[in-house]
């Protein structure tokens, strides 16, 4: 299934389409993934946005997008995409616009919307077989409001609403599996730090019609507590420690596109982020560290 277009890093687009000078934080992992995806998807697109950090990308009268944009609400971006997609299909069918005037519909949503408020609209859009590309930039908390915990927050992470010594007591919801249970045309996990893996997945998704969904773990210097220059490093560690598995769902099967080998200890990833500092200082929380490592080991144990 290897795609001829992206064999090596040298095949990645060298022209960057998204404008600079946006109001995102320095080192934003979400913006990085958007850059990489937009470079491949191009400007024949309409980005339908749910409320979140990225909503501020298009602030009157500026936009970094060369293509179109529609902001909807926090919960209903997939429904906005449904309306736009259906309308364009109708216009083409009735010959009121030319087929070459068509746009691809991209949904852009954070984890707050994708894992929670917007899940019903997403589930239903998949069920209806809507032809769309869906990107969830997952920074594991309500980042735009100051990183309160969301349904995407990992176990033990300290957030603005889980400041206790054990951090967030809950467990990250498995949105990829929830999507896969819908049997969409395509679903994948991606990360900006692995652009070749991402590019291959986008290229594959482009060639398919129907619901195509991507979750990108999006390292967030502001919310996670690290230096913005380390965003790519943190992303690479997420893959190397196996806490963020890279995989895809197509044709009824989940396939891992990368096996971390040798798999690093999760401490390498956790210890570089302020949100996990309480696991190491003032003293190591062996129990929690063990629990987190055990979850990752169990995951890869099941995969192999």
């Amino acid at each position: 299934m290897s795609d001829p277009r992206f064999k090596t890093m040298k095949d990645l687009p060298s022209v960057h389409l998204l404008g600079a000078g946006t109001s995102m934080c320095a080192g934003c992992g979400g913006l990085e993934i958007l850059h990489e995806i937009y470079d491949i998807m191009g400007e024949k697109t309409v980005v339908v946005n749910a409320a979140g950090c990225m909503t501020l990308l298009a602030s009157y009268p500026f936009t970094p997008f060369g293509g179109s944009w529609l902001y909807t609400s926090m919960a209903s971006a997939p429904a906005g995409a449904q309306g736009v997609r259906d309308a364009m299909d109708i216009l083409i069918e009735k010959k009121r616009i030319k087929p070459e005037e068509n746009l691809d519909v991209i949904i852009l949503t954070g984890d707050g919307a994708a894992y929670g408020m917007g899940l019903s609209a997403t589930s239903s859009a998949i069920e209806r077989g809507l032809d769309f590309l869906y990107l969830c930039y997952d920074n594991e908390g309500y980042g735009n409001t100051g990183q309160q915990y969301s349904e995407a927050t990992p176990h033990a992470a300290r957030t603005a609403t889980s400041r206790g010594p054990r951090g967030f007591p809950g467990y990250k919801k498995d949105l990829f599996e929830i999507w896969a249970a819908h049997r969409p045309a395509y679903a994948a996990t991606v990360i900006a730090a692995e652009p070749l893996d991402l590019a291959r997945k986008i290229e594959k998704a482009r060639g398919i019609k129907g619901p195509r969904l991507l979750i990108s773990l999006s390292p967030c210097p502001t919310g996670w507590g690290y230096d913005p220059k380390d965003s790519i490093e943190i992303g690479k560690l997420a893959v190397k420690t196996g806490i963020w598995p890279l995989k895809e769902y197509a044709d009824g099967k989940v396939v891992h596109t990368h096996f971390p080998h040798p798999r690093l200890s999760v401490e390498e990833y956790l210890s570089k982020q302020g949100r996990f500092a309480h696991l190491f200082r003032p003293e190591r929380n062996e129990a929690l560290l063990k629990e987190i490592q055990a979850m990752i080991d169990a995951y890869w144990g099941r995969v192999r």
């Binding site: 298009a58 602030s59 944009w69 609400s73 997939p78 364009m88 109708i90 609209a121």
Partner: protein
């Protein structure tokens, strides 16, 4: 042209069919569901072959999809009611700001709590300040005709706002009345196909819709623009209403009046119960009382000038609100007072009545009593406190239910 017995719901569906709508995002809710079932059946039978319908998972999504499709340049119809309108309320406000023209039929139904299926206007009045324009109907014919007029109004380049056509649940939605169904050719003359011009998403013509603003100046600019467009709709509605009368011979002024010319006391109200008020006016006239009826069809924009014109020189107005702003009173009463206060020749007294909540009937005797109370208030120039219509018999019935509940509860715990 043909004449059929139609429910208000079927009349709304006929309005959508004759308007040749392209797209119907839908979600079922009583008492609206018959509208989308009718449209769906026509699509399946090929009678409305050019239309696509999609059932969404909620009204919130339904209104988002309607706005999204309208923003892409197709003619969109949708319908809801009550809790559905409230569930979608975030998007009602949102898509109005997108300045997209489409038509939503709301079938009024009282709001929880307590939950009910029967009508009053608290649902539609919750959308009052949203930017959607509102046309209120009192007959099934009006529902069909208003739907056609609503598209002209929404799509007019001086307006470009979505429009709600409102009818009462049960009293119109499920009541069959004789309705004239216009010929499609005549409708085409009145309402040509939608020409979206700059309202579209197209390759090579990028647009950014509904972007964030930073600061109050930009925000105020766009809100004022929306308001001024809504105000334009008063004049545009007049033009459309004349054009409609020219083609179809039926006239719908923004403010309907009945026997008001020499009236001293007038009823002021909206919706299907206004047809009962007409009947009451006739009986009161028979008894020699100079009573009339003023019925705003257009609630947003609020046709203040026309209302002032028809009420100037009247002695008193009985404002009958089929809604209740809890902690204030009738919404129409406050709207009317703000339109009339301090104006030369304005009626001296506005008397507020709350009636028809949750489908509670308004009897002829109650209309007579409201006219009489208002007449007395005008004479004494003393305004009585707002009246919440309720009869001793009704109270007795409720007390009986409470007694039953009490006994049942005691029985259950023993």
């Amino acid at each position: 042209m043909k004449r059929m017995l139609l429910t208000g719901n079927a009349a709304a569906a006929w309005g959508a069919r004759l308007a040749n709508v392209d797209y119907v995002p839908a979600f079922p809710i009583t008492p609206q569901t018959e509208i989308i079932e009718t449209i769906s059946n026509w699509i399946d039978s090929g009678e409305l072959a050019g239309c696509r319908m999609v059932t969404m998972e909620s009204e919130h999504s339904m209104i988002t999809a309607a706005g999204g499709a309208a923003a892409a340049g197709v003619r969109v119809f949708t319908a809801t009611s009550s809790q559905g309108l409230l569930y979608g309320m975030e998007m009602i406000y949102t898509v109005a700001g997108w300045r997209v023209p489409f038509v939503l039929v709301n079938v009024s139904r009282g709001l929880a709590t307590p939950i009910t299926l029967e009508p009053d206007h608290n649902d539609i009045l919750a959308a009052r300040d949203s930017g959607f324009l509102q046309i209120h109907c009192s007959t099934c014919q009006e529902v069909l005709d208003s739907t056609l007029m609503a598209y002209r109004l929404a799509e007019d380049e001086r307006v470009r706002l979505p429009v709600i056509v409102n009818m009462d649940g049960f009293y119109l939605s499920f009541t069959r009345e004789p309705v004239v169904i216009p010929d499609p050719e005549a409708v085409n003359r009145f309402l040509p196909p939608f020409e979206p011009e700059n309202i579209r998403f197209l390759c090579g013509q990028p647009v950014s819709e509904a972007v964030a603003v930073l600061g109050g100046s930009s925000y105020s600019y766009f809100r004022y623009e929306t308001h001024l467009a809504a105000m334009n709709a008063i004049h545009v509605y007049e033009e459309i209403s004349k054009a409609f009368a020219d083609v179809f011979g039926r006239a719908y002024e923004a403010v309907a009046t009945y026997r008001t010319k020499d009236a001293e006391i007038v009823f002021f109200m909206m919706g299907s119960f206004a047809t009962k008020a007409r009947e009451a006016v006739d009986r009161l006239r028979d008894a020699g009382k100079r009573v009339g009826l003023v019925q705003p069809r257009l609630l947003r924009p609020f046709p203040e000038d026309a209302i002032r014109r028809v009420l100037t020189g009247k002695r008193g107005v009985a404002v009958i609100d089929q809604n209740l702003s809890v902690g204030k009173g009738g919404v129409l009463h406050a709207e009317l007072a703000s339109a009339l206060y301090g104006r030369h020749g304005a009626p001296r007294v506005l008397v507020s009545f709350i009636a028809g909540l949750g489908g509670r009937d308004i009897s002829p005797e109650e209309f007579y009593e409201m006219a009489s109370v208002t007449g007395k208030a005008a004479e004494d120039e003393k305004i009585p406190p707002p009246r919440l219509l309720y009869t001793a018999t009704e109270l007795k019935e409720v007390r009986k239910l409470q007694a039953v509940a009490h006994v049942e509860r005691k029985g259950g715990s023993s």
